[in-house]
């Protein structure tokens, strides 16, 4: 069929490249939906967002070109930088612990003498299947200040009560706790899959040579798992910087007129962008925020890659 199509077309192909292209029309048709959709819903929004960030626009009246004014305003916008602080805080307070605990857990479960791997794996993985909104509703109740079950449990060891979601000191740790609960198992499962591709004979040889568990972890597991960890950390940077669901639901909800809770302690950048665009209808300003966040994400991923990406054996 493909050769038939090539035979029908009249002008002789100019080069081998075009001849091959014509001979292979079908695979191009098969892959085209992705590129068409990505052009419309991926690339165009990217460029249009950048264009938008140089305008003021309420979403209805004509756009007005303001040059870099949105960016210069943003530079001195305390609330914006507070959201960046909160977002980065949550990255180090939730994502980094989550990635670390997951790595250690995966290492432990992967050791040959641990039984019931599948059960542990499924148990730890479970939270990720739950909708973030539902999770927030559940934890909202668990975190209750006077009657919540968490404070009740803490009272047995003489702690609290802690105003988990009401106080500006505890709101971020609360969001972090929920994030760690929801994501650790997921990350562990990915690390575990990476670990299972490491030849078990390597561990055995190391054991025979008398290596301790922590030596095996440092000198075999970590270097061999490096590409998986690198990929996972970069995806986590991208995800954590755009975190929305859990913070918005734990810090006031979607109808809140004061997003981010007490003293905006739980206000993350993505929530501020959402509110600025769709509640305060400052589309241009919000687009500038989005672009700055985009640049920060790329920058952080790049820096991490520079720091950890090189192969230590090179």
């Amino acid at each position: 069929m493909a050769t038939l199509v090539a035979g029908q077309t009249a002008p002789p192909p100019r080069s081998k490249f075009w001849r091959d292209v014509r001979r292979n029309l079908w695979p191009y048709v098969f892959i085209s939906p992705f590129y068409l959709l990505y052009a419309v819903f991926g690339i165009f929004p990217l460029l249009y967002g950048l264009w938008l960030s140089f305008h003021t626009w309420d979403g209805i009246s004509p756009m007005e070109w303001v040059g870099a004014e949105n960016y210069s305003t943003l530079l001195f916008d305390d609330i914006w930088w507070k959201t960046i602080y909160n977002t980065v805080w949550l990255f180090f307070g939730a994502t980094v612990p989550q990635l670390t605990i997951a790595l250690i857990l995966a290492f432990i479960i992967n050791t040959p003498y641990i039984r019931g791997k599948d059960i542990f794996r499924a148990a730890y993985f479970m939270p990720i299947v739950a909708s973030a909104v539902a999770v927030a509703l559940i934890f909202n109740s668990l975190f209750g200040e006077r009657y919540g079950i968490l404070n009740h449990a803490l009272s047995y060891v003489g702690l609290g009560p802690i105003d988990w979601l009401g106080s500006r000191h505890w709101l971020k740790p609360s969001i972090a706790l929920v994030t760690i609960w929801q994501w650790t198992g997921y990350t562990m499962v990915i690390y575990l899959a990476g670990l299972q591709s490491i030849n078990p004979e390597l561990y055995e040889a190391a054991r025979v040579d008398g290596a301790l568990t922590r030596h095996i972890f440092r000198h075999i597991t970590l270097p061999l798992l490096r590409p998986v960890i690198l990929f996972q950390v970069i995806l986590s940077i991208i995800g954590a910087m755009q975190n929305f669901d859990i913070p918005v639901m734990l810090a006031g909800g979607t109808q809140s007129s004061a997003p981010g809770g007490t003293d905006r302690a739980g206000l993350v950048s993505m929530v501020l962008i959402y509110w600025t665009a769709f509640k305060y209808t400052q589309f241009g300003y919000a687009a500038a925020m989005a672009f700055v966040l985009f640049v920060l994400i790329v920058l952080f991923s790049f820096l991490y890659n520079r720091w950890q990406g090189r192969n230590p054996t090179d």
Binding site: N24, P112, Q242, I273
Partner: protein, 300 residues
């Protein structure tokens, strides 16, 4: 797999390096006990919020806020349920979520397996470059697209419709990557060549020869896609205006804002969103986990 490793590694370790083993506390009997205690403790801690969710949806606020809080099921399930369906159109939202996720999933399976097949089994000019581009799009943060995408949807007249929720991701990079990996490793070329000799059209080969043998990969992708769409929150929150069109997470998010809503009612709503996916997960955790790990490990 695990049992054979245990069988081979244990005698080896005990005979050759017993002295080292004594220093290495993790694998001694006490160490093993502590390890298992920790692993089981963490598993219980992870499962507790789900248990709490089930218990709390059977209580009224008055008993939930008692000290100590209830840890066993109560008798207010029916009352909570009646309140829930009068507070929000729960089953309507449930049906919306199901329909949107199902339609989206079917389209994803079709377009992603088609493109994955093309990348796996055809040698065409630009294949490597196009595929590298596709993978690179996985790393592009979506934040900058949120506002313009909303504007585009408004131009298209798609606000408050299901199209923005169904259409944009149907040919997505992850799904194509996942299908390509599977088809590349699991389908022999002879299968297609035989069909080609019989004069089958290229699309027929995909539909009649490839699709029937990639069911396991389709199942894993289907589960993942369905779950992602079912739990999706930010985008439907932005797109859907009319309550009758709400998906479950959007409908539930309004419960959070209603002052004085019974806690048990809120949690019962959450249960309605969590339980269907949780049951599927418990029945098919292998496919779930296979789908999620594929991208991260092989992609890295």
């Amino acid at each position: 797999m695990a049992t054979t490793q245990v069988a081979t590694s244990k005698p080896l370790v005990v005979q050759s390096s017993s002295q080292v083993q004594r220093r290495d506390r993790l694998s001694g009997p006490i160490g093993m006990f502590l390890l298992y205690a920790m692993l089981i403790g963490l598993a219980l801690l992870t499962a507790f919020p789900f248990y709490y969710m089930l218990v709390t949806s059977t209580h009224r606020s008055a008993t939930i806020l008692r000290i100590p809080p209830p840890l066993w099921f109560g008798d207010a399930l029916v009352q909570n349920y009646t309140d829930l369906i009068s507070a929000l159109p729960f089953w309507n939202a449930f049906a919306n979520s199901t329909a949107i996720a199902a339609i989206h999933t079917v389209l994803v399976l079709f377009f992603c397996s088609l493109a994955g097949y093309a990348f796996a089994k055809y040698r065409f000019p630009g294949r490597e470059g196009l595929f590298a581009f596709l993978l690179a799009t996985l790393m592009v943060p979506g934040v900058i697209g949120l506002i313009p995408s909303f504007v585009i949807m408004r131009w298209l007249g798609w606000i408050d419709t299901w199209y923005p929720l169904i259409v944009p991701g149907i040919a997505n990079a992850f799904g194509i990557f996942w299908m390509r990996q599977y088809i590349d490793s699991a389908i022999p070329n002879d299968l297609m060549d035989a069909a080609r000799i019989d004069g089958a059209h290229e699309f027929r080969i995909y539909w009649n020869v490839i699709v029937p043998v990639i069911a396991p990969a389709l199942a894993a992708l289907a589960i993942l896609t369905f779950m992602g769409k079912w739990n999706d929150f930010q985008w439907p929150l932005l797109i859907l205006k009319e309550e009758a069109k709400y998906t479950l997470p959007v409908a539930l998010s309004t419960l959070r804002s209603l002052r004085g809503t019974e806690i048990g009612v809120q949690i019962l709503g959450a249960t309605g969103a969590v339980l269907p996916i949780l049951i599927v997960f418990l029945l098919a955790s292998r496919q779930f986990i296979a789908g999620i790990t594929a991208g991260a490990v092989k992609g890295g």
